[in-house]
Symmetry: C2
Subunit: 529 residues, 2 copies
């Protein structure tokens, strides 16, 4: 028995020692864990002399079985170098660094990628031809808004903006990297992207890591809210004030490589090459092609890429454009206009600027809430996506469209209402039912039809659908949707199809759907299995 | 004196001999004359054994000073080979042939190119970004119609078609090379493009020269009337009946090279790669790219190239597409829809199919004359071009859209009225005055404004123009145009501009233009110098 006690003590001591040893030493070699589509970060100490932004080359190769992904590192100030990686699959990954600096070269390690948290569905991808889904297959229907320079307004306002977004319907936010200089935007930002002397003397070879840390923090916070960050890499709202709109090509390219190295591991990043790109008068058309190519070749994850127009639309058929990001002040007044872009590009179409709800004098910033909601619906039945923002004058010049803050308009809750309806629509997206024929319905032929009558005030709608995928005897239920008053009223009648004629098929008893003779009425028609 | 007489006789005899000699022999070397943009033709005798269409290679190089143009010859049956050339400048040209057949090789000669006849303005080119002009600089505004298979209906009907066209406003005709098999088009053609046994056994390596001689004759006749031949190289209205819609790639390519060799020297040729190309289900998308490239590389004159869609629009941004040839049943119901194609393609846009005036059951073939005329006007104020055709049922199935014959609709004379108005409009073409803002005016800012109110029936129009290129004190005269009743009524008032506001500028006395409260009213506003 004594002998047994002694043995027990020895064994326990061994385990204790093992535990202590492990916790202080060996555990460094134990693989860390990171969730799929999370940000895995390698932090390294290195030289801070000379110019680490340009003199040091740093990258890492990440491997899992026969999968190999190369990603670039970046200098984060104070002798700290980082390499970020977004693993796209679970399992054990290995990495090895490569650098022209021996301290940073050939550092390697392993890590384990586990299943993602519930909120993280991975990056958004194009699904089919005109729709989107997250990498995990969950459907993504963009309902975006714009607050261009919200990250430049200090922490207090930024936190308020996040609180506003948290309870809003929006799942995408258009935002600029560079600060904004414009009417109602005359405040200098707290941080600048380069070292130098504001407003316009910059060392374009030395970034300000703090600026980018703030940007990343905000992108991360958006991600935590399930909001995609549609990051605008260049914009014209500078006009030489800081000069970020007219840097030389080498500076542009260095900036792109730097921001891609920093940000591409965040799953909720979208790249918008520029806003109103054609208003950056110092750039040549070929610059935009080059920027797209730099983004495409440096971002290992293929985040979505677009470019937003002023009055000249970029050639969105080019292969490096993932989706069209359109500004057009009148296209979504009429679904038949909106459809045309779809046909031409054969890619998803997001109308990221359709004029803004508000009361500023500019004609692009004073449409009514009714008009904004109507544009969302017209865009929806065109099989496209529409973006929101607001321009309400404010005594402190805090306008949502530029700075964030709070939302004041009346469109937002109606957009939330639309979003709910869409959540219950076919995951493949809404296809125009009978395009080029003035048919105000989109959906999935044979199953689901969402129609919208805009400003017209019909008192009834003769039940009649385009005949494709339909046959006699099929049964449908109908709901009348008041898109402004946010009501959904089921119609008692079950409609049953007659034999199709040349183009259309009606209810077998020729019945109509009674409508309330009001504007902004929609119909949802679903097949009864 | 006697001596002198003798000398004179000798000299005269010498000249006489020279003349006789020249007239029978040397005059073959005297350079023939041909007008600029005319068809210069080299005719050669060669072998007719084996297969001259595939075994004999024949081309010629035409030179003038340091200009060199290579063009291909073709076999025209009965041992006759031809090489055609359209000289694009006056002066003395030289040619030398090249062939793998010694009889046809290294034949050379000269010819003189003189100024063209008054009717011949040369081929149509793209002018600027959205317009056309002839090679001699004369503005060309396409006003087209369609009679797909008119060349296949025998001489009598073809001659009637030409008589109809001669007194019509049309300056472009869409027409197919291959015959058409379709509803109301069940007659076999008089001629087939290949040797073989109708309807479907063909030697796709042996063309029928007679078929192509007829085609050329018709193209020439159209040219004599000042009408561009928009030649449709492939179409789906065959469905395997003859099988010209489903030939193997080698046959397609041989056919293209043959028809280009035959036809490209005709100045009024336009190449339409296909009609409703996406309905040719046996073709791959890459086939269309290849066809464009064959046409581009084999036609030495760069005639206009387009491709006409069914429901999927070809990528008209590709470099080998000279202009967009659009089918869309609803785009030109609304100028703001039509404008979108312009913006996207940044090329001239011709709506070659906008549904047809007529009374057939198909919904694409029974719009009213009012609707057709409206579509022409909406397309015009979008800065685009619209095409006409007619589908009126006929006891002998002679429908203009397919077979030609006579025109019965009521739109043609209104289209002629519009054409007259356009002849007096800026030669640069009509630019949308304030695009994406629901502004129904096109023209030349500061000088010329053509507005159109469609089906709305305004009783007045507040004189108010988009401010670009305008300043206070400028004076304008206004005419009210009834586009249906074809009247132009000058307004007595001279309007004088106020100071521009943010976007617009009104008359200094706030005056309006009285309008007749009728639909289809247009306004022409011209600056008084």
């Amino acid at each position: 028995m004594k002998y047994f006690k002694g043995l027990l003590l020895i064994v326990l001591s061994f385990y204790l020692l093992l535990y202590l040893f492990c916790s202080v030493n060996i555990c460094y070699a134990k693989s860390p864990q990171i969730e799929q589509w999370g940000v895995f970060e390698i932090t390294l100490k290195g030289p801070s002399s000379r110019n680490p932004f340009t003199d040091i080359q740093l990258s890492a190769v990440f491997t899992k079985n026969n999968l190999t992904i190369k990603t670039f590192g970046f200098y984060d100030g104070n002798g700290i170098y980082r390499i970020r990686f977004m693993p796209e699959s679970t399992g054990e990954w290995h990495y090895i660094t490569s650098s022209n600096c021996s301290e940073l070269n050939e550092i390697h390690g392993n890590f384990i990628v586990i299943a993602p948290a519930k909120i993280n569905h991975g990056p958004v991808r194009v699904q089919g031809m005109y729709s989107f889904s997250y990498a995990d297959g969950t459907v993504y229907r963009p309902i975006g808004t714009t607050a261009y320079a919200w990250i430049h307004q200090g922490d207090k306002l930024a936190e308020q903006t996040l609180q506003t977004l948290a309870v809003s319907p929006f799942n995408k936010l258009r935002m600029t990297v560079f600060p904004k200089h414009y009417e109602w935007n005359n405040n200098e930002p707290a941080l600048y992207p380069y070292t130098g002397t504001p407003p316009s003397i910059w060392d374009l070879k030395r970034f300000n890591p703090e600026f980018f840390q703030n940007l990343e923090h905000r992108v991360q916070q958006l991600g935590d809210l399930g909001i995609e960050a549609d990051i605008i890499l260049f914009h014209p709202y500078d006009k030489g004030h800081w000069g970020f709109d007219r840097m030389p090509p080498q500076a542009d390219d260095l900036y792109l490589r730097y921001i891609i190295a920093r940000l591409s591991a965040y799953h909720n990043v979208w790249w918008s090459i520029a806003n109103e790109y054609d208003y950056l008068k110092e750039k040549k058309p070929s610059d935009w092609d080059r920027f797209f190519q730099i983004v495409q070749s440096n971002d290992p994850y293929g985040h979505l890429r677009s470019i937003h127009n002023g009055s000249i639309i970029y050639n969105n058929t080019l292969p490096w454009v993932s989706h069209a990001s359109i500004q057009n002040g009148s296209a979504v007044e009429d679904y038949a206009r909106a459809i045309l872009y779809r046909d031409v590009y054969r890619k998803p179409v997001i109308f990221d600027e359709v004029k803004y709800e508000g009361n500023i004098p500019q004609r692009w910033g004073n449409i009514s809430a009714q008009e904004m909601v109507k544009r969302f619906w017209e865009g929806t039945i065109a099989g496209t996506f529409v973006g929101h923002s607001e321009c309400f004058l404010d005594s402190h010049d805090i306008i949502w469209w530029a700075k964030g803050g709070v939302l004041r308009g009346k469109s937002v809750e109606r957009i939330a209402f639309l979003k709910k309806i869409l959540e219950d629509s076919p995951s493949e997206g809404l296809e125009p039912i009978d395009k080029w024929q003035n048919c105000p319905f989109a959906g999935k032929r044979g199953y689901y039809y969402l129609g919208y009558f805009g400003e017209s005030k019909p008192s009834e709608w003769l039940f009649s659908l385009y005949k494709a995928e339909l046959k006699a005897g099929m049964k449908f239920k109908v709901e009348v949707i008041d898109t402004w008053n946010m009501t959904i009223t089921p119609v008692d009648t079950v409609f049953e199809l007659n034999k199709p004629s040349s183009y259309y098929v009606d209810d077998k008893n020729g019945r109509s759907v009674p409508l309330p003779s009001k504007p902004f009425i929609a119909l949802r028609i679903r097949r009864i299995p």
